[in-house]
């Protein structure tokens, strides 16, 4: 009997919630023989990641996952063996009652946000006693062995490595996106929130001696790009050249294609949680725009990650990387720090690959969830 899993996703903003849960659901089906229902309250957001999705369907099967529109008001269903509330979303009261009423109550997990902070290890896997008699367990993704790990599909690094060692595959993929960079061009992907520091980066790229081809998927960073270019209404496929810099607007691509985009680029600017992790699996230098929080709490999280990530870098590389990440996340100019990064580029590239391999030696998040369920049984 296949274990049944229900994953609940409430889309708050952007695509982080649905990106993580969709990826997890697919992996549980593909690698762990789980029967997964993914409850989503915003199918339009889901359709951005899964273009074949029907945004009006109450139920549909996509890539082996039973996609359910999370109805309001809730319509009773049988509770699953394992229930994941993603990012502390509130489960329907009637569903929680159904979890408790099963012959063997459901395993209830709250999948939390990703953080590199120390406290995460001390909270990962702890129970939360509920008035229903159920226990809910807090499951924290993370970078350390004492956490729940990171989402990483089986064979991901092998597929990435094959792709990166196959120039024809890279070229074919880029051509599919109508991207034809100069042979000598450095390829950069830009996926970020609005950022006042962007203009300074584009300035130095345009003034540089090496050609740069920047790929910008449609999204929140595009307005800043347009402002710097002095144009408006840039659509998918638009190409603008300023000095040594070529800027090209890309469509919002599927998760698998986004992986290939990251693998194709020499440097990836990413944001939030899901693209941040995927850029690490790309094994290339990266720049993280962290989700901004009240009281600048996000800056502590940024520092916590940096403290881990710079381990093993030379002082010069650490300083350059830290300066650029900090400036980027304060919305300050990054031109100087970008130039400093160029001085340590080979080291950063080697380090990005080493970091990727080190993190890949830990149990991945889906496997850790499955193991947690087995232990709980």
């Amino acid at each position: 009997m296949r274990p049944t899993w229900d994953i609940f996703c409430s889309v708050v903003d952007n695509y982080g919630d649905i990106g993580v849960t969709w990826r997890l659901a697919r992996q549980l089906v593909a690698e762990h023989d789980a029967a997964v229902r993914l409850w989503v309250d915003d199918l339009l957001a889901f359709a951005h990641l899964c273009p074949e999705a029907d945004v009006r369907a109450a139920q549909q099967c996509r890539q082996g996952v039973d996609i359910r529109h999370w109805p309001a008001p809730w319509l009773p269903v049988e509770a699953a063996d394992v229930v994941i509330e993603a990012f502390a979303c509130e489960l329907p009261t009637a569903y929680v009652a159904a979890m408790a009423q099963r012959a063997r109550p459901s395993l209830w997990l709250n999948l939390e946000y990703l953080s590199a902070e120390d406290w995460v290890g001390g909270c990962h896997g702890l129970p939360s006693m509920q008035s229903t008699g159920l226990q809910k367990f807090f499951f924290f993704p993370g970078f350390r062995p004492e956490t729940g790990g990171l989402l990483r599909e089986a064979g991901l690094l092998e597929r990435r490595s094959s792709f990166q060692q196959d120039p024809a595959a890279r070229q074919a993929f880029l051509q599919r996106l109508d991207v034809t960079p100069l042979a000598s061009a450095r390829l950069i992907s830009l996926f970020a929130y609005e950022n006042l520091g962007l203009a300074s980066w584009l300035d130095v790229l345009a003034a540089g001696s090496q050609p740069t081809h920047m790929l910008v998927p449609v999204g929140r960073a595009l307005a800043d790009v347009q402002a710097w270019l002095g144009v408006s209404g840039l659509a998918v496929g638009a190409l603008q050249v300023r000095g040594a810099l070529t800027v090209q607007v890309l469509p919002f691509v599927t998760q698998d294609d986004y992986d290939r985009l990251l693998w194709s680029c020499d440097f990836n600017a990413v944001r939030g949680e899901d693209s941040f992790v995927r850029a690490q699996w790309a094994g290339r230098p990266l720049l993280w725009h962290i989700y901004q929080q009240q009281e600048n709490v996000h800056l502590d999280k940024l520092e916590a990650f940096l403290a881990l990530y710079i381990n093993g870098l030379s002082p010069a590389a650490s300083a350059a990387l830290t300066a650029m990440w900090q400036a980027w996340n304060h919305g300050e100019g990054v031109g100087e720090s970008w130039l400093a990064l160029q001085q340590v580029w080979p080291e950063l590239t080697t380090h990005a690959e080493a970091w990727c391999l080190d993190k890949a030696s830990q149990t991945d998040l889906a496997a850790a969830l499955v193991q947690f369920y087995r232990n709980w049984l």
Binding site: V12, A88, Y113, W119, L126, Q130, S131, G133, Q293
Partner: protein, 207 residues
């Protein structure tokens, strides 16, 4: 008059108003799934996207078992109203710390009972504390929000800073380490906020 001394027992809360996990402080008791749990420790942490969690150390007041748990900061818990009696610390009689009220009733608590206040229990302390009762049994002690303690050791001022913004470690007589202003010296008396364990200011010696 010491309030609550006559009936130092649990009162069922006549007007149960739920509190968030964030509002539940150490030495309060929550009724969870019908069991009374003493909150011995509560650590608030911001997680992601402006949500927060509270990690708690709990002790079951019926079974004595302890557990660690996590709640979303806005999860609702049912507080139990407890009786409290003013007491002062009297002496240590292994393995118990003995507190006494105005009528010389003695209340014994061990180290585990006092987890949240242990760092500030020192011989000779005169703080008027509150013993907390559950069903007639003392279960913990609350310290005043502000207490005064003496520094027994600290390094000299490194930079001659007088602003109070530069901090350095200092030890109290029981070995507890507190970050204090750089200008503080050995034998100085300091005010400490017991909710956070943080130094507040330099103070006069208690009379």
């Amino acid at each position: 008059m010491i309030r609550g001394l006559e009936i130092p027992y649990l009162h069922p809360n006549p007007d149960i108003s739920m509190k968030t996990a964030q509002e539940m402080k150490p030495n309060s008791v929550a009724l969870i799934d019908g069991q009374p749990w003493l909150i011995q420790k509560a650590e608030f942490t911001k997680s992601g996207r402006n949500s927060a969690i509270v990690k708690m150390k709990l002790r079951n007041l019926l079974t004595g078992s302890s557990t660690e748990t996590v709640y979303k900061a806005d999860d609702k818990l049912e507080p139990v109203i407890l009786d409290r009696v003013a007491v002062t610390y009297s002496y240590y009689s292994e393995p118990n710390y003995v507190f006494m009220d105005e009528e010389f009733n003695q209340y014994e608590l061990n180290k585990d009972d006092l987890e949240s206040v242990m760092p500030f229990i020192v011989d000779g302390m005169t703080d008027v504390c509150e013993a907390v009762f559950f069903e007639g049994k003392v279960v913990s002690v609350d310290l005043p929000t502000t207490i005064v303690r003496q520094i027994t050791y600290t390094e000299g001022s490194a930079r001659g800073d007088t602003s109070g913004k530069v901090m350095k470690p200092a030890k109290l007589s029981n070995g507890t380490e507190v970050k204090v202003a750089d200008f503080c010296e050995i034998d100085d008396w300091i005010e400490i906020d017991t909710r956070t364990g943080e130094y507040k200011s330099r103070a006069k010696a208690p009379v």
